[in-house]
Structure formats: C-alpha cells, structure tokens
Symmetry: D2
Subunit: 419 residues, 4 copies
C-alpha cells in the first residue's frame, strides 16, 4: 500500500545505514497450494532512507501520547527522542503534555523540551512522562498550535482514534501550506489491530496477567469448591486472556468476545462449572472484559474516547455463580480479581522494550524521509509502514481455528459450547 | 510465662543440638531509666531439648491449616514434616485436609500421609497443600477423631480462633486421658498479634503491596489530577499499609484503623486531597480495610470465622471523592486497586521462608518435649514459647509514637488530622 | 520444501480443528521492488491434519532432550505429552533419560512413563525433568532400543547435531522396516538457526541478561572509572548480546562474533574505552562468548558435542584492559560477570512458555500425520515444517544492516571500528 | 553504653514526635534461669529528642558512602537527606563524592548539594549516587575540608574502617574547636557486626543468592552427577550462605568460615560428595568466600581497605573435585557460579528499604541532638545507639548451636564433619 509523501527527499541522511523504498512485504503469507495470492497487499519496509525530506538543522518535532496507559510508552518517547537527536541531530524535540489536550493552549499545559539527558532513565518507569488524556482536540486549534510552534513532524502514540485525529491534523496543515509529517505508533494493549502481529505492551500485559492467575489458582485450590474469576483486558478481542491462559496452563475456563456462550442449560457455563467442581473441586476462570456482552443489558453510554462503555461481565458472572450454586445447595468460595490498572502501569518487559525501541526509531526514519499518514507496524516479525486509513482497533480477532485458540482449548479442556 | 507440660520428658532426644528450659527472654526490652522493669514477663526460649516426652517410634503427629491464605503455609507444613521425619524419625505424620473441618469425618476429606518426598517442593507454591476452611469444629468429634487416629501431637496453623480451638482439643483430650500436645503457629498476615514481632507472610505481603502501589503511582501520575486508591489488608491494625507506604515512598495518604479521620471540614480528608491535587496534580492513597469504620454505617454481620464483616471503606472513599470533586467542579481521574487475594496467594519470599522454617522446626521441638497450649512466636528477633491464653489477634496496634508510623508521616507528609 | 512422509495418513484425526498440507509460507518475505522472488522457498504450515498416519490406540511415542540447558525444555516435554495424551489419546508416551545416552541400555537409565499427572507442574521449573547429556549415540543400538520398546514416534529436542542424529535414526529404522517418525524441536539459546525467527529460551535469556547488566551498570557507575564486563552466550552469533544491549539501553560496548575488532591503535577497543572513561568515568561492555576469537590463539579442542572449544574472550579482555590502563597510569576498577549457567537454568518466561506450547503441539501434529525428518520452526510469527537437512546451528548471523544491530549502534553510540 | 555528646541540646526540636535519652535496651536478652544478668550492657534507644543541639537554620550536614556496594545505599542517602530537609529544615545537605577520597580536594570530585527533588527517585536504583571508593583519607586534610565547608554533621555509611575513620575526624575537629557530630550507619552485606541483628542489604543479598541457587540446582539436576558450586559473600561469617541455604532448601553442602572442614579421608568433603552423588546423582554446594581458608596457602596481600585478600576457595574446590573424580573414574559435570557483584548491585528489596529508611532517620535524630561517635544499630527488632568503639566487622559469627546453623544442618542433612 502506498504511503503519502510530503515531497521529494533531497537531503543526504546523516544516518549511515540505509534501507530502501523498494523493499516490500506481503500482508498475507499463508498461501493456499503454495501459490502467490492474486491480490497481494504489499507494505513498504520501515527503516532509514538514503535521503531525507526535512533538513535536520531546521526541523522541529513533537511527540504526543493519548488514551489509556500501556507498558512501553516511555520507551517509545525515549527512542523517538534519541533517534531524532543522536541520529539526525534535528533542531529540537518537544513533548506535548496530557495527550491531544496539550495541543490546545487553553486546555493543556505547555509542552516541554525533550533532551538526550532528560529521557535517559524514563524507560525504567511505567506510564508516560508526558501524561495522557482521552478525547480529541479541535483540529483548527491544534494546527494553529503546531504552526506557531514551528513543528514539522508530529509523532502520535495512541489508538485508532488518535491516529485518525493525527491524519486530520496532517490534512488541515497541508491545506494551509504547512508541511507537517504525522507518523503514528499504534497503541493498544489488547493487540487487536489488523495488519499488526503484536502491539507494544501486550507481552508485558500477559506476564502480569499470568502472575495474577497464579494467585487466583492458589486461592481456588486451597479451599473446597474454590472458584477464582480473573477479569482481563480485551474489549473486542481475547488475545490477552487467551495468551495468559496458555502461558499459565492453570486456567479452566477462558471467555473471550469472539466466542459467545450461554449460562443456562446443559451446554451452559453454569452447568460446566458445576461439572468441573464435581470433578476437581476448584476452578480458575479468565474472562476478557468484552466477553459475553450479549448476556448483559445493552447500554449506549460512551467514554471520552468515544468507546462504548462495556457492561461489567466480571461482576455479572460472579453474581450468577453465587446465585446458581446457592440455589443448587452447593457450597462454593468465590474470589474476584480485577488487575487491569495494575497491569497497564507496569514498566515494559524486555521484549516490549525491544519492540518499542525499534518502533520509535522507525517512526523517526519514516517522518524524516517525508512520509506521512502512516503507522509503524510490527508484522510477521518485521517492521513496515501501514497507511493510517487501514488501521482500526478491534479489527483483528482471535482466529477460532488458529493455534492460540486451539492451545486454549487444549490446556483448559473446555469445549466451544461447554458441552 | 510458664508453659503447660504433659509430663516429664524421659527419652533422649535424637536431635543432637539442644537448648534448655532454663533460658528466658523478657517480653519488654525497652526500659525507662535503664532499670529492669519490676514486673517482667519472661518467655521460654524455643529450641530442641535434651529429653523428649514422646517416644519417637510410637508417635504420630497431625498438621492442620485454618482460615484465610497467607504466604508461607506450605513452608510451615514442609518444615514441620521434615523435622518430625528427619530430626525425630517419628512413626507417621498426617495432614488434616480443609482446616478444622478435616477433623470431622462427616464434614471433611480423609487426611493424607505426609512423607519426606511428598513435601519436597511444596514451599515453591503459595497456598496450602492441605486446603483450609473457616470456622470451628465440634470438640468432641475432633477428639474422637484424634484418638481414633492415634494422634499424639497436633500442629495448628491459624489465627487466634484456631489457637483457642486447639487449646480446647488439648483440654478435652486430657480429660479423656489421651496425651495430646497441641502446638500452634500463629498466622495473621496483618501482623497484629501481641508478643509477636513479626508473623510469617507479612514481609511477602508488603513486597506485593509495594508492586501494586508502583502501578497505582504510575496511573495517578500519568493523568491530570489522577488519584489512585489502594485498599490493603489490615482489619484492626495498619501494619501492612504502613510498611508498604514506607517501603514504597510513593504514597501521599495512608489510612489505618488506629488513626480516626474525618472527611469534611478544613482538617478533613477531602480538603487535604484537594490541596494535594492543587499542588502536585496527582495522589496515591493507601487504606487498610479496617480504617475509617466509624464513618460507615454499623453492621452486625459476621463471617464464618466469627469476625465482624467490615464495611467497605475503599469503595466508600472512592464514592466520596467522586461526589466531592464533581461538586467542586474539579476534574479528576480515579483508579481503584484491591489486590488482597492476589497478595495472599503468593509464595513466601526468602525472609518469610526463613521464618517459616524456624517456626515449623521450633513447633516440633516444643511438641516432642511434651509442651502444649503454646504458640511459637518470633519476638525481638528470637523464637519463644507463648501460652495460647495470651495470644489474641488484633491486640497489637501501630504505636503512634513509634518509628513505623513516624516514617509514614515523614514520607507522606500527611498530618495526623490532615491539617 | 517438501517433507518426507512415512506413508498415507488414513485414520481420522481425533483432534477436531484441522489444518491442511496445502498451505505454505515463503521463507523470504522482503521483496525488492515488491516483486515475488523468482526462486521462492516455501515451507509447509504446521498444524493438525484431518487424517493421521498412526493409529493412536497402537502408537507409542518417546521424547528426548539433548545438549545444554535452555529455558523451556520442560514446557516442551509437557505440551508434547499432553497433546499426545489429551489430543490423540495414544497408547503411551515415554521419556528418554539423560539425552541420547538414554537410547543405549548400557549407558543410560531406563526411560520413564510420562503421564498427564506427572507433567502437571513441570513447566514451573527450569531445566529438563528427563535429564540431558552431550554427544551422539550408536545408531544401531538406538534403533534396536526403539524397536524393542515399540516406539513409533521420537521427538528430539536439541541442536543441529541432535537433529541430524535423529534423522539417522529414522533412516536406519526405515532400512529395517520399522516405521518411525522423527520430529525435531530445534533448541539453541543463541537463536542462530537459519529459517527460524526465534528459538525457544531466547527471550528468557535476554530477560535474565538484562537483570545482570543492571547490576553491572550499577557497579560501574558507583566508582571512578568503573568498568563492567558481562560475558553472554553466543558462539557464532551475537543475538543475545545485541538484544540485551538494546533492551537495557545501559551498555556502551557490545562485541559480537559477526563484527571483528582490534585492540590496539586509534580505532582499537582499548583507545575507545579510554575515550569513554575520559568522558563518562564508567563503562559497561557486553561480549558474546564467540566474539574476538581471531584475537586469541587458536585451539583445536572440542567438547563432547563436537563443538570447537572457544577461547575465553571475557577473561582475555579483562586482562588486556588491566594491563593497558596500568601502563597508561589510569586507575580503573574492573568487575567481571559471567552469568551464562545462571541464565540457562531459569524457567521459561511467558513468551517462551507460549512458543514452547505451540512447538510441542505442532511437533505432535506433524508426527501423528506421518511426517518425519523435519523440525518445527517459528518463522515470521508462524509455525512451519522445515526439513532437518536445511537446519544448521550457527547459520544465522546478525545482519549488520538490520534493525537489531542498528539499534545496538544507536544505543551504545559505538562505531563499527571504534573510531 | 554511654554516647558522647557535643554539649547540651538547647533548641526545641521541630520534629513533633519525640523519644527520650532515658530509654535503654539490654544487649543480651537471653537470660539463663530467667535471671537478669549481673553485668548488663545497655544501649540507648534511637529516635528524635525533644531538644536539639544544632540550630537547624545554621546547620550544614554531609553524607559519605565508602567501601563496596551494598543494596540500600541510595535509600539511606535519601532518608537522611529528607529527614534533614523535611524534618529539621536545616540549611543545607551536601553529598561527598567517591567515598572518603571526596573529603580531599586534591583527590576527589567536588561535593554536590542534595535537595528534596534530587533524591526523589534514587532509592529505585542500586549502588550509590554519590559514588564510593576504598581506603582512608588524611585526617588533617579532611577536617580542613569539613571546616572550610562549614559542615557540622557528617554521616558515614561504611564498614568498621570507615566508622573508625569517622571517629578520628570527630576527635581532630574537636581538638581544633570545631563542633562536628559524626554518626555512622554500619554497612556490611555479610551481616557480621556484633551488637547488630541485621545490617541493611543482607536480606536483598539472600533474595538474590536464592535466585542463583535455583539455577544452580536446575543445572545440577539436569545431568548425571551434576555438581553446582555457588560462591557467596562472607569473609569472616557465613550468614549469607547459611540463610540462602535455608531459604532455598535445595542446597546439599554449605561451607562457612566458622566450620573448618577437611577434604580427604572418610570424614572429608570429597568422600561426602562422592556418597551424595552415589545416592542422588547431583549436588549443590554453597561456599562462603571466607570458608576453608586453612586449606589454602597463606597470603599477606591486602586490598585498599586493608582487608587481607582471601584465597579463592571456590576455584580451589572446583579443581579439587575435578581431580578427585577423574582419579576415581567417576564422570561428573561441574558448574561454577560466582554472583557476588551481581548481588551487591541490586536495588534494596522492601525489607531493606524499610530498615534503611529507619536507619537514615535515626542517624539524623542522633546527630541533631548533638550525639557523636556512634552508629545506628538494628538490634532485637529495635534501633539503638552503639558507640563506634565497640563496633567491628567480622566480630559476629554464626552460632553453631543457634537456629540458623541448625536449620542449615537439617535442610542439607550434612554433618559437621561430613561423617
């Protein structure tokens, strides 16, 4: 897929190693019959280019982090800053504070100058040193701000709303004749973005989820008919729940948004839990926050990012189990675990530290070469440029015939319909 | 304080190193004017004795774990078992399953034989391999069970209810002419037992609480006016909350049962929080579950261990802050953390592993020498025998002039009354 | 690349989800000019097939682990066992003890029966429950053993020597008319196998290496002219050293086998270290064990696996620095860290736990469908079948124009030749 | 024991909570026959006093860290600084850089001003932000420096050499009429100081040692006749080795300086190891660096702190085992672990974080009240003032009849003489 360019890259790059616009990677690499698919989507490989569009000594860049926390935000900020300063020696780098709000002088705090020293140790802490917030910014006001601050490049770290907002900024700036490159780093701890194999923060989230599942398993096993419910992130897709289930191997039920289930009847969750307790006297259930929404009353409420507010499936299940087992006269001890905020606030583990470093540097290379309207994606173990237009959070789902879900079924021994 | 003995210890101990009944430790070691207090309470030092009361080759011991989980239970089970088998070579060791319920053949599962091999790796997992439950057992039924199973020694790992129950068993057995030694290992993650400096599991609990506080701090700092509330264990005493606050150094408000507080007015918590946000834009509040109960409506509900059910101070504060700041027109983002079950289910850290090993072995030495009606206590860095009669959970409180609470005040900069 | 089959798969698979022999993945997915390369290497996708070759109820499988330790060995053993038992319900699974030696009744211990229960918790420990050893086994003796024990499937977890040895067993068994499927799971903590993106254990090794680098950095910074040398694994390729350097961001020199260097002269390491100390007063140097071998005297010694014994570059550098700085009259405090055995013995982290589970299950699917002479490879985030004949440890090297090495150069600021 | 005072404390303390000079603690609390010992050593309780000697607004304090690294140094620096600034609001706090060398303008770097903000996050890192070095400073030069910099209080964090050096500084300053309080915080990771129950950093060291022992155990168990040797800190006393052995429960031989042993003969280590391998096919041996020195040739070499250089018992044992088993024709695989620097460089765990915070604050209280020539000691779970004159590293040894060593014997099943 072709990437928008601001214009011809004329300046020699100060970064000695160099990639090429001529290398592409196919989006789909599983081929039936070993035949190259007829309609191949190709993505440009990320990396430094021989020529850059922006003259480093006159270039100013800004970084903004938006939406909920995710392990690795500080690593991205640091690597973007370091590559701009150490690699390209640009004029200055500023950090927009408090998310998009920081692009509106009336609503946000003033930006801060990011230096090599200032970012030295920030990757050792979770969260974002720039702060964050939810919700959009007025495009006109933000472009005024960027022009007034002579910003040529904006790095947007956030979800699909953030990325679409970034694209609007590019278009508005373009209209006004201000050359602004906007390059996104997709952020979703849920790992549910199409054309992205793994988003940063996901691995750390699984690590921490497994730690909590360990305690949940211990609690359940230590009493007669102990049941532990662990609610994990996953609005539209159950990747965290599934990966934590497989990594832990101590989970007996894994509920995800992709697999509807019923409570009642012989193929329902309640009967399945009863059978499990009958056999093993304890159970660990992991539920993604977006699972079983069809069982709850509908809501139209939305949060500030415009996401539909989910009904709380965790507490719903807790109540259902308690009512059911009381009715059935079966003693049961239920423990509820809700570690989402604890997970989000962790520092990146080493795998996420690596991916964040690569993403940050690749975003810089893309922007310096004058590319815009793209995000950096880690796809099939490589980094590519993906147009913002094709990115949408929630668009990737667990494949129910794929190895991750199969591994869940094998380790939990659960059946699709709790038969 | 003198310890009850079943009779004269006549057998040579197979354990070569040996202590003496003649060494005592003062309960109070802070002396005004350097003068020995007039009424000194003295505790007998724990340790192996030269002679034992029970003939090892005819002795059978049982272990039971009761009440809520606490890191280190498996370590205690393991060290008791190993010392009985390796040190004294007794006839057999059985594990009572599911708490006191396991002493009632109608209510519990059959006990299991504990061997050197079976316990080899159990200390690497949290929880209790024997299972646990809350609530008492009928004394008559339990003594029948112990007599029928030819149990001479019972080790009771649990809170003060468990220990008092254990004493009843000794007395009933005594009445019936069955020589039964009952030795307790006091268990309370809250560390609130008088004449005990540190209970096992407490250090691990503080470790894990600090991990959660780190995430809470990260969440709070990453948004404007971010407030994180972390609810921790502590029914009657705030030791976990206070120690985690000092170890973390990132907490701004620490609420404990020992220090009443008000919400409203210039010296109230709400105003103090508002001042904090005005200055620093974020705050971390740690609250022990038993804090601020006077602010909540009273309840007479009790759990199965007979503990008064606490009202939920954490959610109460969360609601109060949300109402207050909405009324005051101040935007605020509140995150709530409730990691108690997660903390309880962890394996013991190395410090707790050490203390559990010592406690388990000392309990064996005491029982083999024919002592009964006591618990093993870690006091002033030594292990002593404390009569069950003086042990009561909740009886130790934070000293408001002591160094722990002073360190809390120094690191949080909070005032006693939030002035 | 086509995979050898023992014959037609005629039995219906008891595993309900199913893949197909008709899906392939290209080995090379970075295409110049976006054009499909003319000579494409294609690998068959791993996964369960609709039909199996072996009749489960008459099938016996064996697993063997060979060579040095690597995090995740127990996870592989567990998932292979569970998939065979839970997924395919085969007759029995045996574990060969002590590596290939266990296939020779005169040299090794008797195998053990692997059951669902026996493997329940083994993944929580590092190492291999089966034991391991280096070196080959006599092919004739081993095939006798396999025939006598009615083994139809052998899973070989080890390096390229192990895999080639496995292939010999298949060929010898075939000659004798015994249908034996041999499926390998490639094991090298160094991650240096061509056609494999990531081998299991690598991620955990990087995690642990980063922990040690943290201490090394602390030591170096705490004294004037503190120098810490950390020797890491990497005989032929510097992947662990490079990844740990990038994940840590605290390393100043990263030496790998792929990049020769000189000690003396203005472009030599000694002068570069002197410049670094002059500027920053401390330095952290990470060196892969196979780096700088050209600087050491040659040796022809080999270990039992037939690997050339490496000269010790770590101690060599330590000595060189000490001599150099003494000669130059510069005080320096040098600390040496050699954590390789410590790293190898760790349990798998969650990422390695996932990859091991997938690999183990895929190996089972491949073998049950009658395929042989292959290894399971994790390539471009997918799992494929790769013929043993193309696998060779040490064949993959760091690309000096690739993003990992570029990230090393950016974070260390070292130049290729220490200019 | 009485503590030297600079003079009468006349100023009201700004620290509201207050202790008293009139509370004392006995050094010995294990009393034979329950009788108060005739010659009781009493230590003054640490804590804030009602009156202070130094007028805060005119007081300047300095901190110096000396000798090898130990987890918790930054925590101590931070709590001293914070208590001086937040508690007493003194004029200024300076950090002496690079150990005692920093008191000599010709040899060291200039000191830095320590502020509340500067120390905010330092406790999250290991090492010392001030730097350290070994060896003394010329007393005259150092006192000149302290007088010229108007330093009234010096906090010395270091071993007994450091503390005696600090006392010399006090005496020299006193001679010259400069009122200087010198208060020490005893630092020895080995925990071998008399009248100190636990020194800071010790708990963290045990934590990390146990991690390494886990890997050592895994290595040993994974091969036939695998032997792992783990060398740990402990020049004169085996507390780390013993505590790590008991916490781990996976160690088979624990060698400490307090227990001499022989290699040869039926009661020698070599025969004991052979018996162990015969029975269990693997072994883990932990050796404190000061153990078995009598087996090595003597040396008179000393390091810069004046400590006798120890011969390397770890490598000596490694060689002895290899020679012995070769001679006996027994195949054995030996792995050697030497994690000392890795352990020293870790950040403090939560238990050490607590003890460091208390120690730092108590040192401040003591100094402000005009006391000098003392160190803060954690004794029997309380903090007391101990005169420098009675402190000497290496003076506390493992009690061979005490519970720690008994727990070592129980868990390793080793006999004193390997019978």
């Amino acid at each position: 897929m072709s990437i928008t360019k601001l214009g011809e890259a004329r300046y020699d790059s100060p970064v000695s190693f160099s990639g090429s616009d001529e290398v592409f990677m196919p989006a789909e690499i599983q081929w039936h019959g070993g035949k190259v698919p007829e309609e191949l989507i190709l993505f440009e490989k990320a990396g430094p280019r021989k020529k850059v569009f922006f003259d480093p000594k006159n270039t100013r860049a800004a970084i903004v982090t938006c939406g909920g926390l995710c392990p690795g935000l500080n690593n991205v900020i640091r690597s973007v800053t370091r590559e701009l300063i150490r690699g390209y020696a640009i004029k200055s780098v500023i950090g927009i504070r408090g998310g998009y709000r920081g692009l509106d002088p009336k609503r946000g705090k003033r930006p801060i100058e990011l230096t090599d020293d200032l970012v030295e140790d920030i990757h050792k802490e979770g969260g974002t040193m720039l702060g964050t917030s939810r919700g959009p910014v007025d495009t006109g006001i933000a472009v005024d701000f960027l022009i007034n601050n002579e910003v040529n490049i904006l790095f947007t770290v956030g979800g699909d709303g953030t990325q679409r907002g970034g694209n609007d900024l590019f278009e508005e700036a373009h209209k006004r004749g201000h050359e602004l490159a906007v390059v996104g780093i997709p952020k979703t701890i849920d790992n549910d973005v199409h054309f992205v194999t793994r988003t940063f923060g996901f691995d750390t989230a699984v690590d921490e989820a497994v730690r909590v599942i360990n305690s949940a398993h211990t609690e359940a096993r230590s009493v007669d008919n102990g049941v532990s419910i662990v609610k994990l992130m996953g609005r539209h897709a159950g990747f965290i729940a599934a990966a934590a289930t497989v990594a832990s191997q101590d989970v007996n039920f894994c509920l995800v948004p992709e697999v509807p289930f019923v409570l009642e009847g012989p193929r329902g969750l309640l009967a399945a839990m009863e059978r499990r307790l009958g056999k093993k006297s304890h159970a660990v259930l992991v539920v993604a926050e977006g699972a079983g929404q069809e069982l709850l009353e509908s809501s139209e409420e939305r949060d500030e990012s415009g996401n539909l507010r989910l009904k709380d499936i965790g507490h719903f299940l807790k109540d259902q189990f308690q009512v059911h087992f009381k009715k059935r006269g079966i003693e049961m001890t239920l423990r509820y675990f809700d570690p989402s905020y604890q997970i989000r606030g962790c520092p990146a583990n080493t795998q996420d530290a690596l991916i964040c470093d690569f993403m940050g540097r690749h975003a810089v290379h893309a922007a310096m070469s004058g590319k815009t309207g793209l995000v950096i994606s880690y796809l099939h173990s490589h980094f590519v440029h993906v147009p913002i237009s094709v990115i949408a959070r929630g668009s990737k789902r667990l494949e129910l015939n794929g190895e991750l879900w199969n591994a869940v079924l094998s380790s939990t021994r659960q059946r699709a319909r709790f038969e």
